[in-house]
Amino acid sequence: MDPHPSPAGKVTELLLELSGGNRAVVDELIPFLYRELKRIAAAQLLNERPGHTLQVTALVHEAYLKLVDQSQVHWQNRAHFFGVAAQVMRRILLDYAKGRARAKRGGDLRRTSFDEALTVSYDRAYELVEIDEALQRLEALDQRQAKVVEMRFFGGLSVEETAEALGVSEPTVKREWAMARAWLHREISPA
């Protein structure tokens, strides 16, 4: 046995365990995906023209291809992978957005040194933080609905991929998505 399996070997192993029903391995998968997704994003963007839109779906797919030994897995495993990837994307984006939102609200920028000052570009970080907070409340009410939002909105997965990952029908995903979207919208709209 190789005591230090390659990331791909390790991820595949974990993914199989996850598909076997061991949810606990998600925590172990996350750091691998976190790294890989960021690396792929960086590489993607390097080759793009400025001002392009990042293709999150492509990102997740590429990560899957890189991290998972295709010969060992089924399509269900792929869906599970996408589920975890969406979760990781959510974390990546929120890590960034929270720092961003804090900076914008708190005037934190003045505290830093001169030459790092103010490369502020317009973003909707604060909005994203709000959505995430509302989504956490939704999780408490309806875990499946929250998962749908995580996969579609954060992970950029299609209805089909979301249905696959959750093991439900596509109409169900559509219904859940519709209600979750309505609920979240109402949550974050000013009363």
């Binding site: 230090h4 172990e28 750091p31 976190y34 790294r35 960021k38 690396r39 994003a41 960086a42 993607q44 963007l45 390097l46 839109t53 990042l54 999150v56 990102l59 994307m89 959510r90 990546i92 984006l93 890590d95 960034y96 957005a97 961003r100 804090r102 708190g106 003045r110 505290r111 830093t112 040194s113 001169f114 030459d115 790092e116 570009s121 973003d123 909707r124 970080a125 909005e127 994203l128 959505i131 009410l141 309806d142 939002v149 579609r152 909105f153 954060f154 950029g156 219904r175 519709a178 209600m179 979207r181 309505a182 609920w183 979240l184 919208h185 109402r186 709209s189």
Partner: protein
């Protein structure tokens, strides 16, 4: 919301969602079956579906930079030393900070500071080699440990530190809603960490909230200890200013003046930054404002202005908690002059502890002058106590002076200090001295106060040779000290030698400055004043050859400037003083004199006419009518000396009349009362000379009674003593002549004991020795006569 309720809503919503939108409302109404709340809930959700834009894009489009920001950062996933970079957690002027993991072990996290390429990497690496033992050796629960450091294969320096998962101390305090006391305790832990590092000879140099992270369990950790030093650029020190590259590494809000100026960094630098952090923690605002944000403005603000007290910027109920101790503590830590700050982080923490314990803190507010001034106003009467308290209040000032002197590099700061001390000296010298000058018993207090002022001024003068205004104050201070030590016409301590030295110093300064600036009225006045003061000290020693030129010079100067000082009452009095002294020693029989009676009379008449003019112009002024009385008295002396006894008596009587009028208006003034006693004695003398013995005895008795009262109110006063002694002597002489031996003996003995006390104070005074000898002889004679009887 209950899960049951959620299921209900969800069921109805999703069923309605399947229907064409036109049919939804009817369906919902039916399905909710009269449950209005349920219906409202479902309807509001159905309304929200119409918001098609909402969540239409992916989350990544909300923060396009989240991934793009690191797009060019190929360091993600990179291996550095034993670590692999996971993600960026911060970015600064010098590079970026990453979260890293020890390869293959997720649990072992670290923060890696990876510096920009081109940052003097060789210098940093060699400095790091020098210091890594020390830095890596910093082992304190509140200091994030430095794990390793080096350069990457592409030449970028890096440091690996313990990863602290926390938030900046100010954000933590705000989010946790910490009260002032909890903030102080949290801050004290930071002080402890800084103190520990200082003990290990490491200065942080960049203490700021962003470098003090508080973990989830509430433990503050200082990051980046000693890193700033490693990163310093090798630009020669004098060229490092705000506009230079070196400064960019600093955080201006928390940077100390010495850092901004590129001056040497010491542990006091960290104390300043700690103060700034404490300011932020307590006031919730930064200590300094840089409205334009330009480097020159920042430099000016940091190096020249003291932040407003935290209580004044915080607002709200917290202000009350900050006012006083905490304002003082913060501002003490943030003094512009490093020497004025707390000597260590530990001292800062200790003062905070004192505050927490309800004990008096050690830092002193910077408003000494203000407080001294207030004190004088409140305590005019309890003079001696007031003086003592004042002087002890100012005890710190000697230190302040020293600091002002050594801090030449910190010119502005020193100047401020300088002016504080100067102002204090000034208020001692003038406000306080003048406030108590006429109060009985005030002589020792005046001496204390004036001496203190002189001490301050002397120290100041040593560092500010060219400051003319200061020189003037110094000259004035010397004159006042001389006055208190042994001056004429005012209560004094009888220390003639000290007085002479003081006056001569004043004369030296005034002579030099008047020579340099002959047009200056101020210097002419001071010079004249110094001249007659020196004369006044020398003349009683019978050394008229040295004394008279001073008087003549004084009068000559006053005559020259007379047209320019007509409106100046104080100058007029000085001029009167000069003429009076000139008269005294020219030909007043009561003084050692040159025998020039005419000259003396002329001088007195000149003085009298000035006093009269002032009295007419300023009816409220008491000194000028008293002066008129005094001059009458002295003219009487001279006229008597000329043998014109009748005119002498008239002059004396008009003197008594004039002075009595002033005593009525100002009964407590000892000088006026003394003068009344003297004039009364003179009337007695004139009666005696004209053969009216009983009238003379009555006047002598009245005179010595008045003077005994004056002396009793201020027993330390040498002049009062002398004067009372003389009145006793005159009285005794006449009693002896009339055959009242017992009455004479009693008064001689009292006079002798008084004169002997005075002689002890001033052993060199020849006339006093002679006087004592005369009295001893008289006593001996009377005692012998008594024995024979």
């Amino acid at each position: 919301m209950t899960p049951e309720r959620w299921r209900q809503i969800k069921q109805i919503f999703q069923a309605a969602f399947e229907l064409p939108s036109a049919e939804r409302q009817a369906y919902v109404q039916e399905a909710c079956a009269g449950d209005a709340e349920l219906r409202a809930e479902v309807e509001s959700l159905l309304l929200s579906i119409e918001e098609e834009e909402f969540l239409s894009g992916v989350a990544a489009s909300y923060v396009p930079d989240a991934l793009a920001g690191e797009a060019c950062d190929r360091n993600i996933g990179r291996r550095i030393g034993a670590y692999q970079i996971v993600r960026q957690i911060g970015e600064g002027g010098m590079g970026a900070v990453y979260l890293a993991e020890r390869a293959g072990e997720f649990q072992q996290q670290a923060a890696i500071k990876l510096l920009r390429a081109g940052m003097d990497s060789r210098g940093i690496v060699s400095r790091f080699r020098h210091e890594r033992q020390i830095l890596a050796g910093l082992d304190h629960p509140n200091i994030a440990h430095l794990l390793e450091g080096g350069t990457t294969e592409d030449g970028r320096p890096y440091f690996v530190m313990e990863y602290v998962d926390g938030e900046p101390i100010d954000a933590y305090a705000a989010r946790s809603g910490l009260g002032i006391k909890d903030r102080l305790r949290l801050f004290q832990q930071v002080c402890a960490a800084v103190q520990y590092a200082h003990h290990n000879l490491v200065v942080h140099r960049d203490i700021k909230p962003g470098n003090i992270l508080v973990t989830g369990s509430g433990i503050p950790k200082l990051l980046d200890f000693g890193i700033a030093k490693l990163l310093r650029s090798d630009v020669p020190r004098e060229t490092v200013g705000l506009t230079q590259a070196g400064f960019r590494m600093m955080t201006p809000e928390y940077a100390s003046p010495e850092q901004v100026r590129g001056q040497p960094i010491t542990t006091a630098t960290d104390v300043y930054s700690l103060g700034a952090v404490l300011y932020q923690l307590l006031a919730g605002k930064m200590p300094h404002d840089f409205p334009s944000g330009s480097p020159t403005e920042m430099e000016r603000v940091i190096c020249e202005t003291e932040p407003r007290p935290p209580s004044q910027v915080s607002g709200g109920p917290v202000a009350r908690q900050l006012r006083g101790d905490l304002d003082t503590i913060v501002l003490k830590a943030m003094q512009i002059d490093p020497r004025q700050r707390y000597a260590s982080a530990e001292r800062l923490s200790a003062d905070i502890q004192r505050h927490l314990d309800g004990m008096p803190i050690q830092a002193r507010p910077q408003t000494l002058v203000y407080r001294a001034g207030r004190f004088v106003r409140r305590n005019r009467v309890s003079v001696a106590a007031a003086a003592l308290v004042l002087v002890s209040l100012a005890g710190g000032m000697t230190v302040a002076i020293w600091q002002a002197r050594v801090a030449q590099a910190q010119r502005l700061r020193a100047e401020r200090r300088f002016n504080d001390v100067r102002q204090l000296a000034h208020s001692f010298l003038f406000d306080f001295h003048d406030a108590i000058q006429n109060l009985p018993g005030a002589t020792p207090a005046r001496h204390l106060v004036v001496n203190k002022a002189l001490e301050y001024l002397n120290s100041l003068a040593q560092e500010a040779g060219g400051d003319v205004a200061l020189q003037r104050e110094l000259a004035e201070a010397y004159i006042r000290v001389g006055d208190v030590e042994g001056g004429t016409g005012l209560p004094n301590l009888g220390d003639k030698a000290g007085a002479r030295q003081s006056y001569e110093r004043a004369l030296g300064i005034a002579g030099r400055e008047a020579h340099r600036d002959p047009q200056s009225l101020e210097w002419q006045r001071l010079l004249a004043r110094a001249h007659y003061s020196v004369g006044d000290i020398i003349a009683p020693t019978r050394d008229l050859a040295h004394a008279m030129p001073h008087y003549r010079e004084a009068v000559r100067i006053f005559e020259a400037i007379a047209p320019r000082i007509q409106q100046d009452v104080a100058a007029q009095f000085e001029m009167v003083g000069a003429y009076e002294s000139l008269g005294d020693f020219s030909g007043n029989p009561g003084f050692v004199n040159l025998g020039d009676l005419k000259g003396a009379k002329a001088a007195y008449e000149k003085a009298r006419s000035i006093d009269q003019a002032v009295a007419a112009a300023h009816p409220d002024n008491l000194r000028s009518p008293r002066g008129v009385g005094l001059m009458d008295m002295k003219i009487g002396d001279v006229v008597m000396g000329m043998g014109n006894l009748e005119e002498g008596l008239r002059k004396y009587q008009s003197a008594v009349q004039a002075i009595e009028a002033v005593v009525e208006r100002d009964p407590l003034n000892p000088t006026t009362r003394l003068m009344l006693g003297l004039a009364t004695g003179k009337v007695g003398r004139a009666f005696e000379r004209t053969g009216q013995t009983q009238a003379a005895l009555a006047q002598y008795k009245k005179s010595s009674d008045i003077q005994r009262n004056v002396m009793a109110a201020d027993p330390q006063n040498a002049m009062y003593k002398n004067s009372y002694g003389l009145s006793l002597q005159n009285y005794a002489d006449l009693l002896r002549k009339t055959g009242d031996r017992a009455g004479a003996l009693a008064r001689y003995r009292e006079a002798l004991s008084i004169f002997q006390q005075l002689l002890a104070l001033d052993p060199g005074t020849k006339w006093r020795q002679e006087e004592c000898a005369d009295i001893v002889a008289a006593i001996g004679e009377l005692t012998a006569a008594k024995g024979r009887k």
